[in-house]
Symmetry: C2
Subunit: 618 residues, 2 copies
């Protein structure tokens, strides 16, 4: 019943095997010059004529016979007999061998006088100066750069043979629906071949997405045979695992040979390398982040063997904020958020499942934890591979702590200024710890002290002696979200969805429960935690729970009743040493902008009377 | 008669002025999802439904009520009453709150027994785990990365509003012909707007090339007015200088206002910034490398103000091999060749005119010499900005010395192995000096000693005590190239084209002249130097000279008669310390390949009997 991976192999060995087992001959195609930028030449390109073909004036002036200018000086001006007027780019008439700039010529009644001799060939662009007839302009396997399109036009090249790799992508699965169709329960939008096509075409592959194939071995077999015939590489999406409905390996074995089943990576393990008709057939795992990893770490590097130019990620050395534990034997790839605190790079793993595509949207970097390693400790300096341009990572603004939907809107407001707000939802206490370790720029927090004040007491306790400022985002209504308008007093006996320990909302809940004399044990689901307000509201909407605690805007966004419990102060804590950091300045400016106030009012449940107010932790 | 630049301004000031004077509001357009990679979002994107919308099984197994599994252990197996079979991705049926993996279940006659309790919500992907309804997927001004196309498909996004900048490109000049037309004398292929379009579209601008406009002010004025109406930015190619036929500044002044005429850069000085209808109108210089510089250093950075993502070049610190002298006041941009000798980056300026587009094809890096600087001394460590992927620069193979057309073919042979041969033509002596300074990987040389031997005596003299190997490229016929079959004895009295001092061919010429008792003064043009065999042959073909000295293959390529003078030994000198460098190994392998011998025989004039032979300088 339970199938096993039979041929699990380390990633580097798989790449070596691919290079060894396949001839990796690219296809070629002809493209017009204007489509050649970023492509790789299939053959050397030669100039068919010289540029320029004939001597040209390099200045506005007169063409002269240099011999006749000999001896000219301030003391002994020479009036020339044989002269031709030329502008820059004009042909130098036959018989002339130099050009004198118009500024150095005195013209009287059609006669030209000079006061300085001309060196032979001065101010002349000789024939072939740029390119000589028959010269090689660029060799084969040359990555054509945008600026070279102009040079090729000059040399008379209007179309080019370029190399490509034809890749056929087969989406399999009876549960698939195309993008644009809202999936019914049990259906899934097919996205892996969409992603693969976008990633592979970036480096010049020519991808074809074939129609969806049901989970039936004979249908998959027919598709693979056909697609193999029409392409250089075949990628079968999903069905590559070892479950009861995973037919890809069997189909490949039937049509050809399975070389590898299972790659020692995480994510991405359930991948297959096979050979059919001497072409590579790759089985892609179904989970999106597994598929992403296999495309990035296996297929893209493999395409280099065909001559495509695959850029390496930029790498920076960064301190890692939390430990990454793993077992020896697999290469692990972890999506991360990366930013610069002062001059120091800091990188934080995003710990989510392989089905969470938003992790790849939120991530701006990733780390590779090598096969032979047991992982990293917090504080280790590691190689972070960039997923964004370096300038974007340098301008990342790391906001770590309590979650609120308005952080996304702040991110939106900061983009035109060139800053990239990345929020990580670890709760108010998590944010204060990050601030203490100087691993974030700002920590959103709403921690209620027994004396009824917000935030200051905790910051003073955890960061004694550190100068901290607090900027008020908004007063915020927290309340009970439910489908039926439950109030706080209704909570006992109701299935509850809780927030994680250390979050301000959790501390508020516990504070209010104590005040109201409600025993948490009376609330089934009290131990079930989610990390955002929206997730809590969604658990209620989906029926997982009857009630939860969240901010008004989250309940409103999902159209759910909301009964207020208390108003709190949602602030950003910032180390004063970073107050002059352009990122912080931009953040404060965005919070104080009229646009932000408009957004808060539109979302609802926010008191903006103190928005933008700066205070100091005493 | 002589117009002047009136408003020359430093580059940084021009960029600041552009940002200050214009609103820089981008255009937006709608693109289908599959065309969105590399584009920048115009608006935030929200999820319209949760992903998943309902709880899904994260494993193949059985859905259970976690409460019923309590107390199960190896000693106390529990047989479950209420169970649903699920595969990964299936909907968890209502009423169940955990999944147990099939491996941990014992099935007998339809009954399921477990030996371990299930934690609530284990192996379940809760609704909204990936994205909750109403959440922001990405803010505005977000550069969409290829892998995100998959996530957007999952979230139901099939088209996006993206930002762009509509740029209208106007080629002006009565001398222009389109690419694909061989220019008659005095005509020029229009390439600057072709190049600009390719460069600007790389970052997401939407460029339109308009029809050629003659050098007539009223026609240019009409074109600018029309194009301004249809675009966000107008670029007028050429006519931006201060010559008699340079109308761009006058036209802009007529329609609006000239803000800058002349930018303190080299190349690129004759550029114009104007304003018409509150839109920027940029006058582009006519010389291709000037135009390239203005696009790269001015227009691309300016587009960032509109929100387009313009990547910064990767910078490496490299030792510069020759001095760059300049006057204070202009930023100078110098195209270079860059490579790594051992672990040390070394960068060499390509000193050519602004009309030589091949310099931009040959260059893999450039340097910026700042305005306030007087230049660099040889050996200074400078910032080299990459024009190729870093891996390409790391695998550059620097071949510096005597020129031969076969070097281009060696470059072609090395590409599939992943190495990038860059040849710099400085003559044999120049190569030996580069080798002495350890600034190249190999130095092609053919230096004849009075005793009739080649190369060894010079290497011993200039690199005493350094272990040097010589690999033979070929025996090579040098001879007289002419249109009429002149022989060496015919040279006196003939217009001659010479090679540069320090080149082996020049030394061969002087040796042979001395032997034959011919006085160089009897050869007009003896002082006129070019740096390649092809350039010498071309000077003959174009009528600039009656005769020159070159290798047979160059004469053959241009279809000119060739009368042999002598056979020489063309070898590559290599420091033995680099013999194990993969680049050198690949080079030696390419020289010894049958393909290379075939090429030598096809080109003609090469004796391949010792091709690939390695010898040691005694």
């Amino acid at each position: 019943m339970v199938k096993r991976y039979l041929k699990v192999m380390p990633l580097d060995d798989v790449l070596a095997l691919l290079a060894r087992e396949f001839s990796c001959t690219p296809s070629t195609e002809i493209v017009p010059l204007e489509a050649a930028s970023g492509k790789v030449t299939a053959h050397p390109i030669f100039g068919s004529y010289s540029v320029p073909e004939i001597h040209l004036a390099a200045m506005d002036g007169i063409a002269v016979v240099s011999e006749e200018t000999k001896g000219a000086s301030e003391q002994h001006p020479v009036t020339l007999q044989k002269v031709g007027r030329v502008n820059t780019g004009n042909v130098v008439p036959p018989g002339y061998d130099a050009v004198i700039m118009i500024e150095d010529v005195w013209e009287t009644e059609g006669k030209f006088t000079i006061r300085k001799a001309a060196a032979p060939w001065q101010h002349i662009r000789p024939a072939g100066e740029d390119l000589a007839e028959s010269e090689m302009v660029m060799p084969s396997r040359h990555l054509v750069r945008p600026h070279e399109i102009g040079a090729l036009a000059t040399y008379g090249i209007t179309r080019l043979d370029i190399i490509t790799v034809r890749i056929g992508l087969i989406p399999t699965g009876s549960e698939l629906v195309p993008a644009g169709t809202r999936p019914a329960p049990g259906q899934v939008v097919e996205s892996n071949t969409v992603m693969a096509k976008a990633m592979l075409e970036t480096v010049g592959a020519r991808c074809t997405r074939y129609p969806f194939v049901e989970d039936k071995p004979e249908k998959i077999r027919n598709a693979v045979a056909k697609v193999c015939n029409e392409n250089d590489i075949v990628i079968v999406s999903a069905g590559s695992s070892a479950g009861t409905k995973d037919y890809t390996a069997d189909v490949i074995a039937d049509l050809g040979e399975v070389l590898v089943h299972g790659i020692a990576t995480k994510p991405g393990k359930p991948a297959i390398i096979g050979r059919v008709e001497n072409k590579p057939v790759i089985g892609l795992p179904g989970y999106p982040l597994s598929a992403l990893t296999v495309i990035r770490e296996l297929v893209l590097p493999f395409l280099q063997n065909y001559g495509l130019a695959v850029p390496d990620p930029v790498v920076v050395r960064a301190g890692i904020t939390s430990a990454v534990a793993k077992e020896i034997g697999s290469d692990e790839f972890v999506l991360c958020t990366l930013g610069k605190i002062g001059e120091r790079w800091t990188v934080s793993p995003l710990s989510k499942g392989a089905g969470v595509q938003m992790s790849a949207v939120r991530a701006n970097a990733y780390i590779r934890v090598p096969r032979e390693s047991e992982g990293f400790n917090a504080g280790d300096v590691v190689d972070a591979r960039l997923m964004v341009p370096i300038r974007e990572a340098e301008n990342a603004l790391l906001v770590t702590g309590s979650h609120d939907p308005v952080l996304d809107y702040l991110a939106d407001l900061l983009r035109p200024a060139g800053f990239f707000l990345i929020s990580t939802h670890v709760g108010s206490m998590g944010g204060i710890i990050a601030l203490k370790k100087d691993e974030c720029h700002a920590a959103p927090t709403h921690l209620l002290s027994p004396d009824g004040t917000y935030n200051t007491a905790y910051l003073r306790k955890y960061l004694p002696g550190t100068a901290i400022d607090l900027i008020c985002v908004a007063g915020r209504q927290q309340g009970v979200v439910s489908k039926t308008g439950l109030s706080f007093a209704d909570l006992p006996g109701r299935a509850f969805i809780n927030r994680q320990q250390g979050s301000g909302t959790r501390m508020l809940l516990d504070h209010e429960l104590k005040k109201a004399g409600i025993d948490p044990a009376s609330m089934p689901g009290y131990e079930r935690e989610v990390t955002t307000h929206i997730a809590a509201a969604l658990a209620v909407k989906s029926g997982e729970a009857e009630a939860g605690l969240c901010v008004y805007s989250a309940a409103k966004a999902l159209g759910l009743p909301f009964v207020p419990v208390s108003q709190e102060r949602y602030e950003l804590a910032i180390r004063r040493e970073h107050a002059d950091d352009p990122r912080i300045r931009a953040l404060v400016k965005a919070i104080r902008s009229p646009e932000f106030k408009t957004i808060l009012n539109r979302l609802g449940g926010y008191d903006t009377s103190e928005t933008g107010l700066l205070r100091t932790v005493p």
